[in-house]
């Protein structure tokens, strides 16, 4: 079958990948594609097969079935060293016996001496550590080790960069800062990337496209805003978080809940259904459903009030200067009529 233009341009194509460990399936018929310069994030709870997917792409695991194509080459049986992938490991896996410069030049054996030196300097510049080249990994901080690991992976100019939970060993403060730096470096390197994380916020922030995985399958793929705005089912909505799931019954084409009704989006009459309500979808009004403020989370830029309505708890976002004491009776309603609804 002749390849069409768009198919041949994909940097990575996985088709029907299956992999089981000791009889327990980790990946089931997984399909995945990554385009040139695209950053794809794989998110999902632990044990959903994200890391296994990455290891199959890198050739560190041999899949039981399916095909792996990298830059148009069939790679299923190719050893890792011939796949042109860069891997950033969760624990960085820097070689403890080599200096930073030696670590970075490890994958540059094919280059001439002077070119190798030039490339090492170039990459260390890119990650902002030009003065650290003679240090040993154990003399660096966690964030610096992270950047060396990244420099080492991009130095050979791989077709595809694979990042396995790259920030799981950094504290949250540092994580936010390093995330932007790393993202900029990956963009600047020009490689396509697959970025694995269990942190859904991170997955949405860094990616051009997001794939949500569950039990070895890709259960939803789309741009970050698509995933955010229209999760495909209650499970994805729950995983992405930052929202309450409100139950109701469909009547006259509307889903009726304790907070009013929304469009039922074709769910049959009389059926039980759920609507995803994010804090910004709840507004305080003169006439609406009565509730009681039970908690306040103050995060600086806004206040999230937890409101109890008919025994269910709902979150409502307000500007940071709106202060409502605990126990106050308020009335709320849904801001919009078009919210994600799941049967």
């Amino acid at each position: 079958m002749p390849l069409t233009e768009s198919q041949s341009q994909q940097v990575l194509r996985l088709r029907g990948i299956s992999k089981a460990f000791a009889g327990v399936p980790a990946l089931r018929e997984l399909d995945l594609e990554v385009g040139p310069r695209e950053i794809l994030s794989l998110i999902g709870p632990s044990g959903c097969g994200k890391t296994t997917t990455l290891r199959v792409i890198a050739g560190l695991e041999v899949p039981d079935g399916g095909s792996v194509e990298i830059a148009g080459r069939d790679c299923r049986l190719l050893p890792p060293e011939r796949r042109s992938v860069g891997f950033v490991f969760q624990d960085y896996a820097l070689f403890p016996h080599l200096t930073v410069a030696e670590n970075v030049s490890f994958g540059l054996d094919g280059l001439h001496r002077s070119e190798r030196k030039k490339r090492v300097a170039e990459v260390l510049d890119l990650v902002g550590l030009p003065e650290m080249s003679q240090r040993l990994p154990r003399e660096l901080s966690g964030g610096q080790q992270q950047r060396v690991a990244l420099a080492r992976a991009i130095a050979p100019k791989p077709a595809l960069l694979l990042l396995d939970e790259p920030f799981s060993n950094l504290d949250p403060q540092l994580r936010r800062q390093v995330r932007h730096e790393v993202l900029a470096i990956v963009r600047a390197s020009g490689s396509a990337a697959v970025w694995v994380t269990h942190d859904h916020d991170e997955g949405l922030i860094v990616a051009d496209r997001v794939v949500v995985m569950k039990e070895g399958r890709a259960c939803q793929a789309g741009t970050p805003s698509e995933i955010w705005r229209s999760p495909q089912d209650a499970w994805v909505a729950g995983f992405i978080g930052h929202g309450d799931l409100l139950k109701g019954t469909v009547s006259n084409g509307r889903l009726v809940t304790s907070l009013g009704d929304v469009a039922a989006n074709g769910i049959p009459e009389g059926a039980e259904a759920t609507v995803l309500v994010r804090p910004e979808d709840v507004v305080i009004v003169e006439h609406g459903s009565p509730g009681t403020v039970v908690r306040r989370h103050f995060s600086g830029s806004d206040n999230i009030y937890c409101v109890q309505i008919d025994g269910t708890l709902l979150h409502c976002r307000q500007p940071s200067d709106v202060e409502i004491p605990r126990g106050t009776e308020i009335k709320v309603k849904l801001k919009s009529d078009a919210l994600p609804v799941f049967s």
Binding site: E81, F89, D91, Y92, A93, L94, F95, G107, D109, P137
Partner: protein
Amino acid sequence: MIRAFGSGTGELAGVVLRPRTLGLLIRTAGLAVAVTAAAIVIAVPLAWFTTRSDLPWRRFWGVATALPLVIPSYVGGFAFVAALGPRGMLQAALSPLGVERLPEIYGFPGAWLVLTLFTYPYVLLTTRASILGLDSSLEEAALTLGKTRWEIFWRVLVPQLRPAVAAGGLLVALYTLHDFGAVSLLRFDSFTRAIYVSYRGSFDRTAAAILSLILITLSLLIVAAESRSRRRADYHRIHSGGGRRTLVIPLGAWRWAVFAGCTFLVLISLGIPVAVIGYWLVRGTTGANAIEPTLTAAFNTLRAAAAGTLLCLLAAWPVAALSVRHPSRMSRFIETSSFVGYALPGLVVALSLVFLTARWVPFLYQGLALLALAYGVLFLPQAVGAMRASLLQVSPQLEEAARTLGAGRAGTFFKVVLPLVRPGVLAGSALVFLTAMKELPATLLLSPPGFATLATRVWGATNDAFFARAAAPALVLIALSSVPLTFLVLKERSQEESGLARDGR
């Protein structure tokens, strides 16, 4: 084995059930138990004092108390016989005071004393390594829970150290069971001596084979017991490698008492042998003509030990790599069977190799290769153990990282794995080399004709009570053995200082 079963069951039962055999069994096992217990009693507190307390000259004692390991038991045995035996140096010195008789050195007390003094460093070294790897935060946690030092020692430290103490104790027990030199010199009738006598003396090879089998069975039982205790204790190691700050605990008024204890121990375990050897070296009239044969023997010793070590390393690598990287029932089996070497007395391995080669491969018989092979079989477990431990510290992710960066299997091995395991492998080699140099019975039985090593020269001379002739080779042997041991102890020190934060888990 073939010998034993070739003899027919009737004879087998005859030898096994002989009352003499039962007596041998009780005596040998009793000695092993007594020596192991004494070694643990000496070594465990010593390990603690030399790592955790403010003992004066702590670092010096760290090295000095490990050094008796370089003195082969037959050298120690001869030193104690010369010093404390009838008409020995001590009695000669005391006779003007009217002391006519000293407590009997021959038999059980002497063998017990000598073997304990020269094997306790096994327990010392394993326990100390374990203490250095412990996480002090556990002790700190216990302190904040209101426990006293003494309670912490028993309830926090001892349970965590148990696997290390058991491993060291295993080495001591097996050394005692397999020792041939000291028990022979001190005229203690143990299994090895009986085997040697029935082989050399009466050429009763069947009896020798049967006694060997009993000895091997006894050793295997001990190995099995130890590995069982180790399996149960695996979870104790969860915390190793955490915070590496070592708490130094002030001993207060006890400092100088412990100092005196260390001095006394080093004086009798190192001072007596060195003094006795020095005395005979000076007194020996053959001083000048002893130099050349001693040099030849030293050269031979190094050659044989080097060949054995090399063989050991080559055989140990695949076993260790397989068991660490591809754990399976098969690799476990291979690893376990390599540990059988622990249970095989040198004497028995030598006898069986003599028997096998004389019958089937005569061109190997009495060649250097055969001696190296015996060393290989005997010391394989030590080499496998060292390699396994260092390989376990190399995270498989490092190998994977190298692969994704374009290095093939061979490239990964030479550029990543080998540099990282080198310190551990060197330490293992030093240990094998040290043990091979000291090895007596296998060397005695398998040396090519005219091939004298330091061990065989010392043995030959002391057996004939020519102490003066034994002095030079014994001294050279001790000096040569000190080199790898010092290397080992210093490596442990540097590990303690750098805290060696290995990357990757």
